[in-house]
């Protein structure tokens, strides 16, 4: 039996979600102002810490500045917190039964929806934040990586990290089949996960044991990697190891998600007509 995967419906879906997300321009502008002010406050806070004791930091101030700006610019791509709420609603309302009769794999469908939404919103938001960050006075200015190769690795790692974030969130969407009111557990997972991913302070600032654990966990394969590559903190063997870990977690999470989805769909009971 030959199994041909038709990719077209997924790209079409991706395009629809993308154009859809581009409609909310006012929301995007408000978001940009927020991201910018937020990033600026974070950098000022780090600057105050560096003033107190510049040697104590695992990252240079320049690297931290780059970390914060790129994080704020692509925040909707990296934070688990931005769940695709329509998926939860579909599961809770039973709407999902319609999706199940579509001639399209449900996992792939949700995956491309969630990924498209993140990429589209980030595409809209990142440019203004980056432009302002590039023209700010020193030392708050964002510096481009010196070599072109590093920029390429950054984009590669960013794509991988979106994959890891979305495939991890897929586990949470699918778990909504098993729990009726999952809001609480969602908040728990998102806040712990985002913290371990380096959303509040970069992973290099963690104490040693926790740092190693976070780096090896799927959370370390999220925003941590592209941001540290861009800022130039990560290089050489550590960089290659990190990229391999990203690929590893992406595959594991995809397989786990598919398996969980299979089990969940087997026990779905659709009531009424």
């Amino acid at each position: 039996m030959s199994r041909r995967i038709n990719i077209k419906p997924y790209t079409a879906l991706f395009r629809i979600r993308f154009t859809n997300a581009l409609q909310y321009r006012t929301a995007a502008i408000a978001g940009i102002v927020t991201n910018f002010a937020w990033g600026f406050m974070l950098i000022l806070a780090f600057s105050a810490f560096y003033d107190a004791n510049p040697e104590a930091s695992p990252m240079t101030f320049q690297q931290t500045v780059a970390y914060v700006w790129v994080q704020q610019a692509f925040i909707v791509m990296f934070f688990m917190w931005f769940f695709e709420n329509s998926i939860f609603e579909d599961i809770e309302s039973g709407q999902v039964s319609y999706d199940m009769v579509r001639p399209m794999d449900l996992y792939g469908r949700w995956f491309s929806m969630a990924a498209a939404n993140r990429v589209a919103r980030a595409a809209l938001r990142c440019i203004p934040v980056l432009i302002v960050a590039f023209i700010l006075p020193e030392p708050f200015r964002l510096a481009l990586p010196g070599e072109l190769g590093r920029l390429g690795l950054f984009f590669l790692s960013m794509a991988l990290s979106v994959g890891v974030v979305v495939s991890f969130s897929m586990l949470i969407y699918i778990s909504a089949f098993f729990t009726i009111n999952g809001l609480g557990s969602r908040v728990v997972v998102a806040s712990v996960g985002d913290f371990l991913a380096g959303a509040i302070i970069p992973i290099p600032f963690f104490p040693d044991t926790l740092r190693v654990l976070a780096e090896l966990s799927p959370f370390g394969a999220m925003q941590n990697m592209p941001l540290l590559i861009f800022s130039g903190h990560l290089a050489g063997d550590a960089l290659i190891r990190g990229l391999i870990l990203q690929v590893f977690w992406l595959i594991v999470l995809l397989l786990a998600g598919r398996a969980l989805m299979g089990r969940a769909l087997k026990r779905v009971i659709v009531q009424g007509g």
Partner: protein, 258 residues
Amino acid sequence: MRLYIKYFSMHVRSQMQYKTSFFFTSLGMFLTAFSTLLSINFLFARFDSVGGFSHEEVLICFAVMMMAFSFAELFGRGFDLFPTLLGNGGFDRALVRPRNVIFQVLASQTVLTRFARIAQAGAVLAYAIPRSGIDWTWDKVMTLSLMIVCGAILFFSLFVVYAAFSFFTVEGLEFMNILTNGGLEHGRLPFGVYGDGVLKFLTYIVPLALVQYYPLLYLVDREDSIFYALTPVFALLFLLPCYGLFRFGLRHYKSTGS
């Protein structure tokens, strides 16, 4: 007041019907706040001070802001959810009832899960107060209480501004988050460390520094004029323009229809 207590107990009872949900949401609240606390501890494990403030002094600052914010949310959540109330026409119903509108919005929501954060803030205070090296005379105790009470009222005023804006935009405004959630998140450090520009803004425009930075200076004996201890009281003046803005919005209110 009797009516408010009645509303409050009604919300309490209804939220207690879903115990698991209540538990998990509280846990989530607790962990979100806890990750901020952890980040402070991690940073202080590497750097010993920030802007001349010690770890314990910063913890007091963090706990005061979190407590103030959580109390504001506990009572003022109705204003936070106001855009929804406007959007679904629920506000029209409030307008035709023979009670004060603000009272009704105030009573429309209570979120008990905020107790998780209040408890955490209390625990941090209990840890930091004896270790901070501050000599807790009665005036310092008063200053600390003023910071919490006036801070809560200030955050509440910001929720009112947020609600007032939504009269004009119907939708919520994300940029207000930088003042409310941002005030909480960045208020973990004394506002003075963010530099002059930020401090001026937070003194004269949105007076968050009046409930946090200036009284903290008094607590740690960097300033000994009683004026610094009383700055939180001046922050209450901020409620007036906020209330005015809300009234202004109310006069211009057009229903979204049903």
